[in-house]
């Protein structure tokens, strides 16, 4: 990785005020993404991964409490003035959401939607150049330029997801946040979209934060992986190392949920974790994973855990890892 990361997230907290008690969705996350690097962010519903993504672009609902630092080339996104933030969105940071049908305007041609983004945000493309750029973007994501005249309903799910990726790339961002970009898609179309993202990354040196619960997809497309549970990163390191030998019992459970076809260890042995992800308002004491953990020991309910060294370039928040200061 280069000396200066493109994005540095420090001690990020996201809390949603509600009528009852506040909901702490992200509880102190540190991350770094280098230029052109792909970081995979894994976790299940409610773990805080989408709140984290929203915080990076300041897209969370008004009133949400966000603290910490989100440094883009050393500049804090969280304290930017509205004008500067508008300039940074699209041209530096862009996001692709899941559910392409709901993100696109159903009564506007897709070309017009891409053109609007270019007109509002691009510094160098103007006038007649906009239409040309729309055609280029569609071809870049593998659609014929004439598709610009289509309405979203005339496109299939995979094609709409391609349009959204094209839209995100409209102003040449350096970092793309892809939040479950393939979840609603079929296996074959998912493979097509993943390949497209890989190609774009090689072509433009684009950095990508790839968010999904599907650990096997992340292991296949990302260099580095961060696994989130209950609002915190509980394991991080090189993705293949993590997938092959998870250090945190939660990661192990998540990895086991995606069986390796042909491996007899998985044959007729579906495996998961007991219980459900916790309610962020009522987190278990100590290590928040302990009630579901197959390896929990006596100290777990009372020991606060943090990311401790767990081998080469790896860390995990578990008393069992080699770098844990707590005797387990």
């Amino acid at each position: 990785m280069t000396a200066e990361p493109l994005l540095t997230v420090r001690d990020l907290h996201v809390t949603y005020p509600t009528a009852g008690s506040p909901v702490p969705a992200v509880r102190g996350v540190d991350l770094e993404v280098g230029v052109g690097e792909t970081l995979g962010l894994a976790g299940e519903s409610g773990c805080g991964k989408s709140s984290l993504a929203g915080a990076l672009l300041r897209l969370l609902p008004r009133g949400t409490r966000v603290t910490g630092e989100v440094l883009l080339d050393g500049e804090d996104v969280l304290t930017m003035k509205p004008g500067r933030l508008r300039a940074v969105r699209w041209t530096e940071l862009a996001i692709v959401f899941q559910g392409a049908l709901h993100t696109l305007n159903p009564v506007q041609r897709v070309g017009a939607q891409i053109a609007e983004a270019i007109r509002l945000h691009s510094r160098d493309v103007r006038g007649a150049g906009v239409g040309k750029r729309v055609g280029e973007l569609l071809e870049l994501v593998g659609l014929p330029a004439r598709r610009a005249h289509d309405y979203p309903h005339q496109l299939s799910g995979g094609q709409r997801q391609r349009v959204l990726i094209g839209l995100a790339l409209a102003c040449d961002p350096r970092l793309l946040i892809a939040d479950e970009p393939t979840t609603a898609l079929d296996v074959m179309v998912q493979a097509q979209v993943l390949r497209l993202l890989e190609e774009l990354q090689e072509q433009f040196g684009l950095a990508v934060i790839f968010i999904t619960h599907d650990l096997s997809t992340l292991a296949a497309v990302c260099e580095r992986l961060a696994v989130m549970y209950a609002g915190r990163v509980v394991e991080q390191g090189p993705s293949r190392d993590i997938f092959e030998a998870p250090a945190h019992p939660y990661t192990r459970g998540l990895a086991a949920a995606f069986p390796v076809i042909g491996d007899t260890a998985f044959r007729m042995k579906p495996s998961g974790l007991p219980g459900d992800p916790p309610d962020p308002r009522r987190l278990p004491s100590g290590c928040p994973f302990h009630p579901r953990c197959p390896d929990a020991v006596a100290v777990c309910p009372s020991t606060p855990v943090e990311l401790w060294p767990a081998g080469d370039r790896r860390s995990a928040a578990c008393v069992h890892v080699s770098g844990s200061p707590v005797p387990a």
Partner: protein, 315 residues
């Protein structure tokens, strides 16, 4: 014990008409399932797998062919359907949509007991079903509503509602795809256990080949309304013969480097089924010229392969 298959599908066709076109969603399918067996039906969305599942449980009437349960063809009069819908239970993808938000868990499970007028004490039947589905103690769930429990627990309630009727056949359509990854395994383990304990036969409709490897005895691969290959799970997933099955397997994300065969486009349109082999417009063997080298290219274009695996190159 009955030696013959529990459920048979013979020459089933299902057609949908619309805008002057006819979609042949299921285009001539034969399938068998034995008691205590789990069969995975896999394919892309739009291949007709959900329509076939609905036909098997009697929610969809075929244009041709028949569904048999223990050798007896399914009739479409009220009485036969009512009987069939007790014996063959459907479990949907989304448990939240399958449960009435304004009914308690008790009501959700008791409803079927009342409709089917099962003998026995209702409360005991409901409690036993919840308990067998892993919701213990069952009484603590009686008065709760779907929104008060987790997604995994909701799917357990749906399973309890199906199992309370002592079905002979379970048809599960993507039973875990809306659940969190860490919860999926537990639900699959529950289904596997129930099949082993009760000798119910189960058809699992899924696009997830990993799931098939996890629980299925046999796998049938469906493409554009037709079964194109079937076999034991070990055979089919470790030595696939049909190029479509091979392509599906190659895109399962895995860390090991396998050369991916990403098919272009999406599952094709059942209103315009290609002539000859219906897979040929997307077939890697055909596109690469391999079919021509084997001297079968003309048959791919003009002859519908009917024998399984449905491919001129391997038949």
């Amino acid at each position: 014990m009955n030696a013959g298959p529990l459920m048979e599908v013979r020459g089933v066709r299902v057609e949908y008409a619309g805008r002057g076109q006819v979609a042949r969603a299921v285009d001539g399918v034969d399938l068998e399932l034995r008691s205590g067996e789990i069969l995975a039906l896999v394919g892309e969305s739009g291949c007709g797998k959900t329509t076939l599942a609905r036909t098997i449980v009697g929610l969809q009437r075929p244009a041709a062919g028949e569904v048999r349960l223990r050798g007896k063809p399914l009739g479409y009069d009220r009485r036969s359907l009512r009987e069939h819908r007790r014996a063959a239970q459907l479990i949907f993808q989304d448990p939240t949509g399958a449960l009435n938000a304004r009914h308690t868990i008790y009501e959700a499970v008791a409803e079927g007991v009342r409709i089917q007028e099962l003998p026995g004490v209702e409360e005991e039947l409901v409690a036993e079903a919840l308990s067998r589905a892993g919701l213990r103690p069952p009484e603590s769930f009686f008065t709760r509503y779907p929104y008060e429990i987790s997604g995994g627990q909701r799917q357990r309630v749906v399973i309890a509602g199906a199992m309370v009727l002592n079905p002979q056949l379970l048809v599960a359509d993507e039973p875990v795809s809306s659940l969190d990854a860490s919860v999926r395994g537990e639900i699959l383990a529950l289904m596997l256990r129930l099949v082993r304990e009760t000798e119910v036969g189960m058809l699992v409709v899924t696009h997830d080949l990993g799931l098939a490897w996890n629980v299925a005895d046999r796998v049938a691969v469906m493409y554009l309304g037709r079964i194109v290959e079937q076999g034991t799970t070990e055979e089919l997933l470790t030595a696939p013969r049909h190029p479509y099955t091979r392509a599906l397997l190659s895109v399962v994300p895995e860390v090991a480097e396998v050369e991916q065969q990403i098919l272009s486009g999406e599952a094709p349109d059942p209103t315009r089924i290609p002539p000859g082999c219906r897979f040929h417009p997307r077939c890697p063997l055909y596109a690469s010229g391999e079919a021509a080298r084997l001297g079968i290219a003309e048959r791919c274009l003009g002859e519908d392969p009917l024998k399984l695996p449905a491919c001129h190159a391997v038949a």
